[in-house]
Subunit: 199 residues, 4 copies
DNA sequence: GATGAATGAGGATTCATTCAT
DNA sequence: GATGAATGAATCCTCATTCAT
């Protein structure tokens, strides 16, 4: 399972009508299984069944199990990047404390939404040959944070951006795994750590 | 694979002679496979072959594949706890800055040693029914840090301990995954974050 | 695949207009796939796509994949029979040496045209329940040759016809498989063998 | 099926004891299925069942279905080469007529033994990436016949050898397919054709 | 008539685990 | 104790065929 040599791009991306519904149903079913059972629990037959379609249909849209996971990862990354872009755009001349708060909030959103899913997808990522692709998205994310920090005159903004992302991920993962419900509190603590790190 | 309903305790832990060597050889073989190929690449047949024993022998020592992984996780946890215990014992009346440095160093050690293995084992942990068991070890670790922090008069030491462990793990994982070699530098940045968090 | 229990007759044979074009397009697409990939490579979906029609349309003309192959075989047989009939008609009082040459030339024609296709179709034939049907065509072919030979006073003309057909097929197949381009030379050697056999 | 990209070499070739029995049982079972049902009828599960072993065992010896067929082809070629080598060695100063008779007999033997199997294997051969390998064996066979012909002063012995092999195969295949039982008679007619070709 | 999304039986292959030797 | 051949359930994936639109 999680064969790193698998094709990871969807076969077709039907963005309308019945097909789109099937496509989304498959992704949602896979997401639920991943949340409940982890990557080992995800089988194509189970995902199809849960989505209410046949295996054949699943394979019409995704060439492999890996492609489904890859697509979920892409969606997660895309949402995070979108959230961060919005947050960055909203900053204007806000003080750095506010900036950190908004960026952290944006970084956390998908974790707060579906913590278990987020955690599983993060863990699965290095097993997939997404590197080039996801690396690019990650780089965009990091660059965006970096530019924002730079705007506030932070030294070595690249490294700092990397570390802030890392510590945020670490704290949110740990909280999620420990069963945290109150992500506002988690966010507050992450902000404290980020501010502390920035000095 | 990674069936959460599997037995996870070694059949016997031979602490001497040829048996002990076989036992260790199997663990080491499994560790190498996990490092190179991830959890999907670990098969009992392959581990046995790499360890230079037959599958039959492997099953004499471990009742299931899960038990091998579980044992590696235990070993990692135990080492970390031992390192932290040593670090805590060495503190005496050292100032808090020194304390943070030593504790972080102890926390990081096994990551610095075998970053890929550490990462895989962390990810595998929630898939195994180790919770009770590892939770206890994690609690010990957290308690130890908590007590140390308390000694320095830190407020809400339990939560702080939890967060420090989490952000350390997050930063080290990210660095390891990004291919970091210089773990002294990583450690320095983690210390900066920890100190910042503590205020 | 190549289920011998399948229907093997076209649903309709539209001999005019758009339908005829579609019908022919499907046959030609299937032929190309068979040439390039062999029988294992032929799928109804692929054939339809290559023909520029939908699978649904394909099934409007052919009740099964087997029916497509069967039709190609029929076409090949029919062409061969037509060629042989022409050749026989042209003989008049030509000496036997000439007769052999013309008959061999007629037998070879479709091999020379599309050697790979001819070979694949020959091989597929025994897998299909064409026996009754093709056997009849083969019998006609053999009878035609037999009658011609009889006209020249050849003894045991039935057996001789059978053997001449067989050795021709064998030599041409082998040459085709070996990548022969110059089918005139192949023809010359077949003629030599045929004349030799006739004594 | 008959995926040309499959591994075609046996995994282990246990030449003794129980393993050898299993290995042979699988080959024999596959051979019987090929005889009865053709290549489409051969499934790994069926072969294993007929051989009285589990699928797992089958895959211990053969990495793919293709490897089983490839091995049967190798065996057939090897037997033919051995038969021809023996025949050639027995010729001494025998006249060419006798030589032709013995070589034809050797060429035919495996067809006479299991005509249906021989036919299926011949047809399957071009579908498998045996080319390099079998081509070598075929070349050996052709070279052997060529040398023998040369010894009798036959002109263009390479081409003649090629053609004799081809016409033999063609005639025997056709006879086998037509349900011939009396391969002595077939052999006599092949000899007639071969002598005729040689002039 | 044409379309192509959907179906699901069928078949290849893997791998944790057992057990006779 | 050790061995490794054997097992077979589990899983991925394909493709001929149908049928609602």
């Amino acid at each position: 399972m999680l064969d790193p040599k698998q094709a990871i791009f969807p076969r077709k991306q039907p963005r309308q009508g019945r097909s789109a519904a099937t496509y989304e149903a498959i992704l949602e079913a896979a997401a639920r299984i991943l949340e409940r059972e982890g990557p080992e629990g995800l089988t194509t037959n189970l995902a199809a069944e849960l989505a209410g379609v046949s295996v054949g249909s699943l394979y019409q849209y995704f060439p492999s199990k890996e492609a489904i996971i890859a697509e979920l990862i892409r969606a997660m990354r895309d949402q995070m990047l979108a959230d961060l872009t919005d947050a960055a755009a909203s900053l204007q001349d806000a003080p750095i404390n506010v900036a950190v708060e908004r960026l952290v909030a944006a970084s956390i959103r998908h974790h707060a939404d579906r913590p278990a899913l987020a955690r599983v997808l993060e863990a699965a990522q290095p097993m997939l040959p997404l590197h080039a692709e996801t690396a690019a998205r990650e780089a965009e994310i990091q660059a965006l944070i970096m530019r924002t920090l730079k705007g506030y005159g932070v030294a070595d903004p690249d490294q700092v951006a990397f570390d802030l992302i890392a510590l945020t991920k670490g704290m949110v993962d740990a909280a999620a795994q420990a069963g945290a419900q109150d992500f506002a509190a988690v966010q507050a603590r992450v902000v404290r750590a980020a501010r502390g790190y920035l000095g």
